[in-house]
């Protein structure tokens, strides 16, 4: 029964909700883009007036600076200096994350302890430390480390532990020549272990009974590690393989790499749109798409096209950069195997004073926390631990009391209940805010600048004070920190998703 043909009146555009909705959005987008473009071009003009070219060529200029510590304390180029600073940032961030997590968990559990003293000490710690700015704490630690005794040991003297104005030194374990061979052999040996594990699991499912899957796997793994420790020189052959791959990578022409990247981008967008349309398909045909859906598809296409534009026109060097660094990577990996390398995977050494009152940083003579590093590390760790303690406490308290009671009813002790029932559940609640704290440590490591720790912002600042390349330098900072953020949130999301699947 066809309805009488309706007489649709088109409303004037200033009253049409669709036109208004999209008009406002597009105008805003245009305004933002225009303002951005204008500001950047203004900055470029201003910089040109001062005779400062905008670009990244200066990364290859000689640096002429000395860093306090790091993988390269006298870097050749500015790029190398920045890289060294980035490694320092990551070093303090990773160590801070590990230490503050441990301390935070201990404090968080102590706050819920039935022991009054433990509870009080933990809550006083949390309430004190988290209410004092981290920067003040870092500076205070700097002052405390500086007031340690002078380093009086003679050159060549070895000790287990030094704490002095020059820093805090501990024995150190480091990878030696055979490390990569060791890991490779371990991976090879892990394959049969995996099969044994699968076999045992099946057996347990089919026949029942205790097959000791976990302990057998662990025992075999230890055995494999012992074998690999001594037998790793047999893994010398990857050297040739990796160097062959290195040569093969270097042979790829730039245009082929550009083509590959284009295909990846276009295929990715096409795959995404297809998946999207599939999700909207019904037995009766394609469902009506709303303007949001069109926007998403347009966004995918525009994104892919923009990437292609970058690859071919804006930055053709990207492809050759990928080729070169890929090739370099395989070469670097190849060098880790065979040759005339030793076979010990790990080695250790006590701190040694090399000359009167000085350590050599970053040589295999013990692990030295320089005063700057120690101040930053202690400040970040103790500060962040107070927040992690609160997160852990909140997570445990969010687990329903019934879980504890059920565990007690099953005859588990308090400790067992905590380990086996409460903590696994609390972990899920704790994960996202914990990830935020890890991010905060990484970002706060930039406060190292206040104690002259050579992290990326401090190095960068020293460099742009020399050559005025502030704009480019800040773009590097931002990309670096954004990559760190994305990595951390990616890992946290991954773990979270894993936990959700386990839950089912």
């Amino acid at each position: 029964m066809p309805a009488a043909s309706a007489h649709h009146e088109r409303p004037p555009f200033w009253r049409n909700t669709n036109v208004l909705k999209w008009g406002v959005q597009i105008l805003t987008l245009a305004a933002v883009v225009a303002a951005f473009w204008f500001l950047v071009s203004q900055a470029k003009t201003n910089l040109d007036d001062k005779g400062i070219p905008v670009g990244y060529d200066w990364l290859n200029d000689p640096a002429n600076i000395q860093l306090g510590e790091g993988i390269d304390t006298v870097p050749d180029t500015m790029g190398r200096a920045l890289w060294s600073g980035m490694v320092n940032t990551l070093r303090v961030a990773v160590l801070g994350i590990i230490a503050s997590t441990i301390l935070g968990i201990v404090l968080g559990i102590a706050r819920l302890s039935n022991n009054w003293l433990a509870q009080k000490i933990a809550s006083v710690y949390v309430e004190t430390i988290r209410n004092i700015p981290v920067l003040v704490q870092i500076l205070l630690w700097g002052v405390i480390v500086a007031s340690l005794p002078e380093l009086t040991a003679d050159p060549g003297e070895k000790r287990w532990f030094f704490a002095s104005q020059k820093g805090i030194s501990l024995p150190r374990v480091f990878y030696a020549d055979g490390f990569y061979q060791f890991v490779a052999l371990l991976l090879v040996l892990a394959i049969p272990i995996w099969f044994v594990r699968r076999y045992l699991k099946r057996k347990q499912e089919l026949e029942g009974g205790e097959q000791h899957v976990g302990s057998v796997t662990f025992g075999l793994f230890v055995l494999a590690a012992i074998i690999a420790w001594f037998a790793n020189p047999i893994m010398a052959w990857p050297r040739g393989v990796f160097h062959a791959i290195e040569d093969a990578w270097a042979e790829i022409p730039q245009s082929v790499m550009q083509l590959i990247l284009t295909v990846i981008a276009v295929a990715g967008a096409a795959w995404w749109i297809k998946r999207f349309l599939d999700s909207r398909r019904t037995p009766a045909g394609l469902a009506k798409l709303i303007d949001d859906d069109y926007f998403r598809m347009i966004f995918a296409v525009v994104g892919a096209l923009a990437f292609v534009f970058v690859v071919w026109v804006l930055w053709p060097g990207l492809s050759s950069w990928i080729i070169n660094s890929g090739s370099d990577f395989w070469g670097w990996l190849g060098d880790k195997f065979g040759g005339d390398r030793g076979s010990r995977p790990l080695d250790g050494m006590r701190p040694t004073v090399t000359e009167g009152g000085r350590f050599v940083n970053y040589a295999p003579t013990g692990w030295t926390l320089t005063p700057a590093f120690a101040a930053l590390f202690f400040g970040l760790t103790f500060y962040t631990a107070s927040f992690i303690a609160e997160i852990v406490r909140g997570g445990i308290m969010a687990v329903p009391q019934g879980q504890n009671e059920a565990a007690a009813a099953l005859g588990l002790s308090r400790g067992q209940a905590l380990r086996k029932v409460v903590l696994p559940q609390a972990f899920r609640i704790v994960m996202p805010p914990l990830g935020n704290q890890y991010l905060n440590i990484t970002k706060n490591s930039s406060l190292g600048i206040a104690v002259a720790f050579s992290e990326v912002v401090q190095v960068g600042q020293t460099l742009y004070n020399k050559n005025n390349q502030t704009l480019a330098m800040y773009s590097i900072f931002m990309v670096f920190f954004l990559v760190c953020s994305l990595t951390i949130s990616g890992v946290v999301n991954y773990i979270n998703n894993k936990l959700k699947i386990v839950e089912r």
Binding site: R15, A284, A287
Partner: protein, 263 residues
């Protein structure tokens, strides 16, 4: 369009007196999708002035979606909806006009918890109808009197019982002096002892000559108050008729099945 004897003819069950009145709401072939799910499939409906129409049907049959489309809380994607001569289109002015002429009462009341009962009722008259505050408050007190809770004016919604909240919600809609009232399962979220107080208000409203469309499961109310009953299933209007026809002599098998399940 000539009258046919089909079970879904929009004129079915109209008395001559109703037939002579103006059309207030007219739906023609209304379609609505949620993603890949089609909630309404070519719905035709005609509501006359001062008519009380009750919409019945199993859950998920599109009843709520239909009345939400009439209020443009949902945007229909096919067909036409005309309310009091105004077609629902993208025209901002039409939407504003319809919103202030069509009142709606929700299953969950949706009172504003941060405002007192009085402020809940006077908010829209002041900000939408641009009335003076004094005038709006006077009107609000009258309405509270009418729904039977004049003493609760300065309380907050959280301090009222469910039945009282729903009556405030009705008063809030009436304060806009709408031509049509839509009720979306107004008693479903209530404890049994509170249902009748809300239904009484609705009956009172119907007797006062308000045009109403009610989605409800209260069969007694439907039988007593409705001019016509619409039965929906799977997003289609299956049957339209007077309460008498509907309960005693249902035409379609689906209606019979539905009635046998609930009565």
């Amino acid at each position: 369009m000539t009258t046919t004897n089909s079970m879904t003819d929009v004129h079915n069950g109209l008395t001559d007196e109703l037939r002579a009145r103006n059309d207030i709401i007219e739906c023609r072939g209304v379609d609505k999708w949620f993603g890949d799910f089609q909630a309404l499939r070519g719905v035709d409906l005609l509501v006359k002035d001062r008519e009380v129409m009750v919409v019945l049907g199993p859950s998920g049959s599109g009843k709520s979606t239909l009345i939400r489309c009439i209020n443009r809380l949902e945007v229909h994607q096919g067909g036409d909806i005309i309310v009091d001569g105004v077609e629902l289109t993208n025209d901002l002015r039409n939407i504003d006009k319809i919103r202030s002429e069509v009142g709606m009462v929700f299953q969950q009341f949706n009172l504003f918890p941060h405002l007192t009962v009085l402020d809940n009722i006077t908010l829209a008259p002041i900000w939408v109808r641009k009335k003076a505050k004094k005038e709006a408050e006077q009107k609000a007190h009258e309405l509270l009197e009418r729904v039977g809770i004049p003493e609760q004016a300065n309380k907050f919604p959280g301090q009222l019982s469910g039945g009282q909240q729903q009556r405030v919600a009705i008063a809030r809609s009436l304060a806009m002096e709408p031509r049509v009232m839509l009720f979306d399962e107004p008693t479903s979220a209530l404890d049994p002892e509170m249902i009748s107080e809300v239904l009484d208000v609705m009956k009172d409203l119907a007797n006062g000559g308000m045009t109403m469309i009610c989605v409800t499961h209260e069969m007694g109310f439907a039988r007593e108050v409705a001019d016509r009953i619409v039965f929906m299933e799977d997003g289609r209007v299956v049957e339209i008729g007077t309460p008498n026809q509907f309960f005693t002599d249902p035409k379609s098998d689906r209606t019979k099945l539905f009635l046998s399940q609930i009565l």
